[in-house]
Symmetry: C2
Subunit: 289 residues, 2 copies
């Protein structure tokens, strides 16, 4: 835990799914605020979060609630973030705000347009999550040792950036900063393309269940490899379209890589394949180091 | 544990890596034999296995050792299995033998050619393993609840098949039977193609380390998805070439699936993509049920 513990009087969390719920758990555990205010469209979720002690209170009227908090974390689907920007602008334009979206260019552009350059918005992406969804999937320590990418702009205030950085540090996150464009380019490689590829892989099982009992032949390698194939379709369609340009760029490289390996196989070029596979094993092992 | 516990006087295990070592641990634990004999080319491995109590004795002279055992499990790389077939034919042609290779057509064909149709060879593939290798990676219970595919031929003796089936059942395996051709076709889908795809995916990181610190952007999703990218290059090159026909067949389907999803992205056809992703999520979730 960071030596400097930022204290907020009241932290608002919009959206109480896996990320919002896990945030609430750790914010309380690390004593980062005196009051956690939950915002959600679903009253059942708010009631459950209150009942389980994840939030101190909930507020169904965002326009009123936003006036009470001094730090707001938006964890909703990307498509509705801009609606909150309008409400923030009209009701508490100087409040410190962050989000947790997986695509940054769109969110930062919307923030600049709607909240303006003088706002206290700093976009965050904690690279922590799961194929699971919802408040019930919330877990303590979700952000522990996870990278959190912040994408400040040239207009970002230094003190606001510092506060958001320390907030994530307190939750165990390892903060790195880059531009929204760089974030989207790198995440297309490390997250969005892998999802795209795995969805395509799982898709070939379509219709197979009927003819053969392929499940008999599935081991833990397949299950681990395709675990992300269980991820939320709506979330991922949104990410794919918002980061289309970068994903298509990496997809080309993937197709090239796939065809190089296929060529070795078709041509029975065992040496060429071995050289590639050894290099690949080395690259992958280094990631764990 | 099966009610019927097959007792062998002496079980030989050829190759003391992850699979051979794990087998030894469970064979002892389930009291399936009075004596476990280890065979390996490396004396250091044999000594370590003996020292750690995994095997009762080791034998450096296979021609002599094979005469002592009444059940032999071959866990070596596929390329050397046929060498053992010759030694078995010449020294103990009626011994009960199985292997654990990931490709079956080649092994069964070699067995028929070398050992002949009157032999007691039944090919096994326990779908249990890991990207890890070697005796030190051995673990208790590796076969617990794992599918073990047996590929008997029309010449296989019923009593031999029954013994091998019960052997795997005793280790917790769930035995299914199919033809070598069917095994290779299904495993190409559930194991070989996924490895091929993941190797191709990890390959695009080649050279990236120098320009950007991409590791900062890697989360647990990427790590889980590409864990099999750490697998042994020699083993996998061997599998790819031995099961080339089936892998290329599934690879075509994968490329089609990939291009269908890419088309949706390029054409901004969100509905079409959503329909696919929802179906894919359903398929993948059903695998866990």
């Amino acid at each position: 835990m960071s030596k400097f513990s930022p204290k907020f009087n009241s932290i608002g969390i919009v959206g109480l799914g896996l990320l919002g719920g896990s945030l609430a758990i750790d914010v309380r555990k690390k004593h980062l605020t005196n009051c956690i205010v939950g915002f959600s469209r679903r009253i059942s979720t708010l009631r459950k979060a209150k009942r389980n002690g994840l939030i101190d209170k909930y507020c169904r009227n965002f326009e009123e609630g936003i006036k009470e908090v001094d730090f707001l974390v938006i964890t909703t689907p990307i498509s509705v973030i801009r609606e909150y920007f309008y409400l923030i602008r009209d009701n508490n334009p100087k409040v410190l705000v962050t989000d947790v979206a997986s695509v940054k260019e769109k969110v930062v552009r919307d923030a600049e347009k709607i909240l303006g350059r003088e706002s206290n918005f700093i976009s965050s992406h904690p690279i922590a999550g799961s194929e699971k969804r919802g408040l019930d999937a919330s877990q303590e320590g979700l952000f522990e040792n996870k990278t959190v990418v912040l994408t400040p702009s040239e207009f970002t205030r230094k003190d606001s950036l510092q506060k958001v950085r320390e907030f994530w540090n307190c939750l165990g996150g390892k903060v790195v900063c880059c531009s929204p464009a760089e974030h989207d380019y790198m995440l297309a490689l490390t997250s969005h393309l892998p999802h795209f590829v795995i969805f395509s892989l799982v898709n070939i099982l379509n219709g197979k269940k009927e003819d053969r009992n392929f499940q008999d032949y599935i081991g833990s390698g397949f299950k681990d490899t395709t675990r992300i194939g269980k991820s939320d379709p709506d979330l991922w369609a949104e990410i794919f379209f918002l980061n289309k340009k970068n994903i298509l760029c990496w997809l080309k490289k993937f197709e090239k890589s796939l065809s190089q390996l296929s060529e070795d196989l078709k041509k029975d070029d065992r040496n060429s394949m071995l050289v590639k596979l050894r290099k690949i094993q080395k690259i992958r092992k280094e990631i764990d180091e």
